[in-house]
């Protein structure tokens, strides 16, 4: 299958296939289109509690497809301020709109400058995905 992926330029990415959209002290987090396609049908997303403290690249939940379960890793340290509770009844939004309605959590971040170098920009992430495809 010829795979094409879209990786928006305004997002930062992890090697665990999460994305984050940073606006001031808020970072929205979801999984990339590549991850959503690889999982295939997302059928369950477990969400953290509001107020939960997350560490950069620490797990904050799980996402399940029909066949498999994967951990979710936070791109940045921070405090969970919002969760996308639509996903509890409509987990398929992660497949339909991974960068939009399929967002998973929003965190308040505090240490962006120190943590940003550990994240990938869109071109680094797309090179990373291409290297996985060749393995």
């Amino acid at each position: 299958m010829t795979e094409s992926h879209s990786f928006p330029v305004d997002l930062l990415y992890t090697k665990e296939h999460e994305w984050t959209r940073i606006e001031g002290f808020t970072a929205q987090v979801g999984i990339t289109e590549y991850a959503a396609k690889t999982l295939n049908d997302v059928v369950y997303v477990s969400l953290p509690s509001i107020g939960a403290k997350l560490k950069q690249l620490g797990t904050f939940g799980t996402i399940e497809s029909i066949k498999a379960v994967s951990e979710l890793y936070s791109p940045l340290s921070g405090t969970v301020r919002k969760v996308n509770s639509e996903l509890l009844t409509h987990p398929e939004l992660v497949n339909k709109s991974p960068y939009g309605e399929g967002w998973i959590i929003e965190i308040e971040i505090s240490n962006l400058a120190a943590e940003k170098p550990a994240l990938l920009d869109h071109s680094q992430y797309s090179a990373f995905v291409a290297s996985i495809g060749k393995q």
């Binding site: 295939n40 049908d41 059928v43 799980t62 029909i66 497949n95």
Partner: protein, 368 residues
């Protein structure tokens, strides 16, 4: 890595994974869509990776009587039956379909067990006048499954499909290919498994044209949907739900043991299993909300371990998590409430009879 004759289609349209040494499609579009296409309409699967072995010769029937716990001589030519290869301890070497043809027996075995099964079959063959021939690479096998499978397949064949009853087969042709068509499957639905005799890995052109013709009438489905469909139907998967450490009684497969039959490999052990109450039984569990996976602990409501899951999935039809597993016999009553430990958290579920779906509404026994 091995490829089936239909590899080019899978590579062009599907997501490939390694399965039993073959590059196989796990899905083409979405596991859910493919799964529901089979439950509601029709789907096609490339099952060419499964092993196909022909047993022929003067002693073919006495040999099959020695090999299998299911009587072969009492089956009429034309039957296709599900049975087990057993070891001398009564453990399950493989679960197979036997197609009893005019001249021979055609055995369909699990891909991962093909070499092991052939070795076992040859060991048992000993002094019997039989010829054992592996025709896997010289043939192609396609399953078409679903309530509309017959309608989708009929225009491509001269066989009168409604006349071929469940668990029987016919020798016919599909397109220009000579084939064995057996009304069996691994989804719970009606349909056929078609073995094309004129097309294998060295000449895939006839198989490709049959597949292409079918693909316009039924949804191509990958191994992902094949697994979720067989779990919903309560059908065991070799290597997950059954293996050499499970016996047919605890696996709830004692119906394959022909009544009164002796003289087959494993029969002494089977006699003991039959007369001793089983320690554990294979059961289906439907979850309240969580999704169980293979290898999860099953407990009673007090948290005492009573078993372990051997398969798990999310059911696209029922929108619930389903598990197959073994539960200690005293705790295994259908209707009982249990917990499955999902990544540390005990999650509620109920023991139910399989198939998991309402068999008046879905599956080959459907009445509406």
């Amino acid at each position: 890595m091995k490829r089936t004759p239909l590899y080019d289609f899978h590579a062009a349209h599907g997501k490939l994974v390694e399965f039993a040494g073959y590059e196989m499609p796990i899905w083409y579009s979405s596991i859910s869509e493919e799964h529901l296409a089979v439950r509601n309409r029709a789907g096609i699967f490339d099952v060419s990776h499964m092993g196909r072995v022909v047993v022929s010769g003067a002693d073919a029937t006495p040999f099959m009587e020695r090999l299998l716990p299911t009587s072969s001589s009492s089956q009429p030519v034309g039957k296709s039956f599900y049975t087990l290869l057993l070891n001398s301890s009564g453990g399950i070497i493989d679960d197979i379909i036997v197609i009893k043809r005019q001249e021979d027996y055609l055995l369909v075995v699990n891909a991962a067990n093909r070499a092991k099964d052939i070795e076992h079959i040859k060991n048992i063959a000993g002094h019997f006048a039989v010829d054992i021939r592996d025709i896997t690479d010289d043939t192609t096998m396609i399953a078409i499954q679903g309530p509309e499978a017959i309608q989708a397949l009929q225009p491509l064949t001269s066989a009168n499909l409604p006349e071929v009853k469940r668990f029987t087969h016919t020798q016919s042709q599909v397109g220009k290919s000579v084939c064995t068509m057996t009304r069996t499957g691994y989804t719970g639905e009606d349909g056929f498994e078609i073995i094309l005799h004129d097309s294998g890995i060295r000449d895939s052109s006839a198989a490709s044209s049959v597949w292409s013709a079918l693909a316009t009438r039924a949804a191509p489905c990958g191994l992902g949907a094949r697994d979720s469909l067989r779990i919903e139907a309560g059908l065991p998967l070799y290597g997950a739900d059954i293996d050499e450490t499970t016996n047919p009684i605890e696996a709830e497969l004692s119906w394959v043991l022909s009544k009164g039959k002796t003289g087959y490999v494993g029969d002494d052990s089977i006699t003991i299993f039959k007369t001793t109450p089983p320690q554990r039984l294979r059961r289906g569990i439907i979850m309240d909300d969580k999704i169980p996976r293979r290898g999860f602990i099953i407990t009673d409501l007090s948290g005492r371990q009573i078993g372990e899951t051997t398969s798990g999935t999310f059911s696209p039809l029922l929108r619930k998590g389903l598990a197959i597993g073994y539960i200690s016999a005293p705790d295994s009553q259908v209707g009982g409430t249990v917990q499955v430990v999902v990544r540390g958290s005990p999650s509620g579920g109920k023991i139910v009879k399989m198939p998991f779906y309402d068999d008046a509404a879905y599956g080959w026994k459907r009445t509406r």
